[in-house]
């Protein structure tokens, strides 16, 4: 039985519940549904940032929260929860990528990366076979590593150390006759990543992107119907169908720890929900420091949670355009993904500018949501959702920061579509997202945070449990599986 209610029942102590999941993210719903489908009584406390309904950021123009594109949705979650039956659908399964280079040249890559060779032939004939072979080879390696990226044990690949220690520049430079192909791959590897392409371990970021599999296509990109909200709605329905009881409150005060085991959660009003298993999808800091307290955490573990303040970020800008795009190359088909791939030097200078708090041109990923969903813009007009990277981490309330990012966004769309005739009537910025740390660092941090708190029955699938950018659901699946095993084995942390 499922229900939606508010916790406002005074100091009530509720028992008979097997697991409590805290959070309102896709991973939280995935974890809750994975546990509940085994017959356990699960309560999901929907707290923290919730995906909002589409919002009108300018009269007649709507933006949808979250990433409109998916690279790496966990197929096991989709299958286990039967998400298609619960409303998950893709507006476009194999989005073409239109790449605009720093010198203004353009290249279109098909939705299926396996067919990239033919497209590259039209751009640089000498590189057609080389590029296709390279991509195929790296996709094979990426496939072997995909379990690791999604939370499993490191695979036994002899070359893993070499791959892991490689920088993007070291691994790719000199592979192709046309250097712009490197720029394209560098843009794919850099987007959302906090490190430079010349740093060790960065090559894994490209492999992680190629390892992603959404809508059954490795390395492909799909557009989810309804974007992040659409995915969240499907997960919510799946969770409710599995019997998860969803409650909305922001008043979770603590996670109750009795001896070394979690025993439930307590609320501001003194009420409690007693349960032997707790899964948190909030940030590591909230999960451990705010809910448990530093005084009950090992010193070394608590130190892991002292993340340095972010400097490099990624920010999503929603643009309202008052007419058709105009540019012949871009405007021919808007149901594509557009990528602005600057030269290595431009990207490096953008990274340095971001690190010193300034706005500059870097990699841009652009989609036109209104081309896929006509309800998002007035007739004849467009909305564009643009991911800008790298940018300085800042506060959207800071006018100087905001103005700098808006200028970069205005310039970026003109560089993707130089002949654009439409005017930008409004720009709306999401809160900046901390760029993903280098892959090995993130993998190690995930391992230590998810395994080392020492609190029995407490499982974590917050943002620090995910690797790389974009929604994947793997963290939620793994937390759900571990919680289930813990429950079935009578309270021994797996």
């Amino acid at each position: 039985m499922s229900e939606t209610m508010n916790v406002s029942k005074g100091a009530r102590i509720e028992g008979g519940i097997d697991a409590v999941v805290i959070g309102a993210t896709a991973d939280a719903f995935a974890a809750a549904a994975m546990i509940a489908r085994s017959g356990l009584h699960v309560v999901l406390i929907e707290t923290g940032d919730r995906p909002r309904e589409k919002r009108e950021f300018s009269p007649g123009y709507f933006a949808v929260d979250g990433d409109p594109l998916a690279y790496a949705l966990d197929q096991q979650v989709i299958d286990a929860l039967d998400l298609y039956r619960h409303g998950l659908s893709f507006i476009a399964r194999r989005l073409e990528t239109f790449v605009r280079f720093g010198d203004g040249a353009a290249m279109t890559l098909p939705g299926d990366p396996a067919l990239a060779g033919e497209a590259v032939a039209a751009f640089s004939e000498a590189d057609a076979t080389r590029f296709a072979d390279f991509l195929e080879e790296e996709r094979k390696t990426a496939r072997a590593l995909s379990g690791w990226f999604s939370g499993g044990a490191a695979p036994l690949i002899p070359a893993l150390r070499e791959i892991g220690a490689a920088s993007f520049d070291g691994a790719v430079i000199g592979r192709f006759a046309d250097q712009r192909l490197e720029d394209y791959l560098r843009a794919e590897a850099s987007i959302g990543a906090a490190h430079r392409s010349s740093e060790a371990f960065t090559y894994l970021a490209l492999l992680r992107r190629l390892a992603g599999e959404t809508a059954g296509l490795q390395g492909g990109v799909a557009a989810i119907d309804g974007g992040g909200r659409g995915l969240a709605s499907a997960l919510r329905r799946a969770a409710q169908a599995a019997g998860v009881s969803i409650r909305q409150t922001d008043r979770v005060r603590t996670v109750i720890v009795e001896w070394d085991r979690v025993a439930g959660v307590s609320f501001d009003d003194g009420g409690q929900i007693r349960a032997p298993v707790i899964v948190s999808a909030l940030s590591a800091r909230e999960t451990f420091i705010d809910f448990v307290g530093k005084a009950r955490l090992d010193i070394e573990f608590a130190r892991l949670l002292d993340f340095p303040a972010p400097t490099i970020a990624t920010v999503r800008a929603h643009l309202a355009l008052n007419g058709p795009i105009g540019d012949a190359l871009v405007g021919a088909r808007l149901d594509r993904r557009f990528l602005l791939a600057p030269s290595a030097a431009t990207l490096e200078s953008a990274w340095r500018a971001a690190a010193s708090g300034k706005a500059s041109n870097g990699v841009v990923e652009l989609v036109f949501p209104s081309a896929l969903d006509r309800t998002l813009a007035p007739e004849g007009c467009l909305t564009a959702a643009m991911l800008l990277h790298p940018v300085a981490f800042g506060d959207p309330a800071d006018e100087v920061w905001r103005e700098g990012i808006e200028n970069v966004a205005r310039e970026a769309i003109r560089r993707v579509a130089p002949e654009m005739s439409a005017e930008i009537v409004a720009i709306d910025l999401d809160a900046p997202e901390r760029a993903a740390p280098p892959m090995f660092e993130a993998l190690e941090r995930r391992r230590r945070i998810t395994d080392a708190s020492g609190l029995e029955g407490y499982f974590f699938c917050g943002p620090e449990a995910s690797i790389g950018g974009g929604v994947s659901l793997s963290a939620g699946r793994r937390a759900g599986e571990r919680a289930l095993r813990y429950f079935k084995e009578g309270g021994t942390n797996p």
């Binding site: 005084a295 070394e300 130190r303």
Partner: protein, 389 residues
Amino acid sequence: MIFPAADDATEPRATALYAAAASVSATNSWTSVNGWAAARVYSSFEEEYEAASRDVALVDLGPLCRYTVRGKEAPSFLSRLTSCPVTELSAAESGRGLILNADGLVVDLADMTRVSGDLFLLTTSAPIDRRLQVAARGFDVEVENIAGMVAALGLFGPNARDAAAAAGVDVLEAEATAQGRVRGVELAVRPINLGSAPGIEIIFPAEDALVIWERLRRRKPIPAMGLDAADALRIEGGAPRLGVDFIGADAALSAEEARIPDEIGLPHLAPPNRAWFNGRRAMRNAERARRRLVVLSLDCDRAPVGAAIRSRDAVIGGVTSAAFSPKLKRVLCFAEVRADAPASDLEAMLTPDGRSKAAARLHETDESRLAATFRENLKAATGFRRSPV
């Protein structure tokens, strides 16, 4: 509190009591402990040992590491940092415990004194500044390293309190710590042990070091005791020495080198059923002790550090530190042996070829008695099966 292993500082700093200590050193035999100058022997090992065993001896405790911890959350901070339940200490009470890392491995030994409501004095064998800095994040505490600001003098032996009283330092009552002003000098006095020798520690401002030293020795010239005699008392009491008998987890190159509390013979200082402290969760899940530090008495008269310990023709461990005990008239040594090693038929190989060997017997110390009682109690507390009548 036990001195850690000597280090290799080429020019150790002078403790506040160095000038006074140097003036009574006949041997001029010095070493470095935590970067501070420490005397090995002042007059002779026998005289110093005899004084501490039968009368009273002075020890410069300056080389130990001292911190003050003050603040509203000082008790919970120290209860987290060490295995001592500091929140349960009343003002003027002292306690001891271990500092463990998150893997349940021993980092150091710690002595705590609650000087007043939210002011604590923490003494450790080796510096733990970095650990304190990291642990203090998020706590309303202020930690200060006061090692260079104070002088610390130990009086050990059965007549330690009388000697202190004779010098006017008679503020100590029973087992409590006391603070006070004695003839113009602010000082704190607390009870401590140096292995088997009970004693008191007097802590006072560094600038008053010579005044207190002279005042204590005015009525009767109390002999000073160096590290060698202190080491014999330490082994008699069964107190392992950091860096000699075990390696602290922060200094160990691998987890294999570090030890859990049971392996260094101090399980009673970190009971797994005590309220939470750093490393306790890992201790609970840790493998059982694979080796154990024991005190053996050897039928020989020289200290065979590094000698192999054999039982029934099999090597079961080795000697980590040793000293001749004038009281027992034999060598006492710490040896690390396999946890499953038999307690009888032990012998120490005094030469590598095994031609010279000495019979060895387990020697009961204050610490080993406490550890044995603790292990028995733990077993009794967790055992639920009734024995057949």
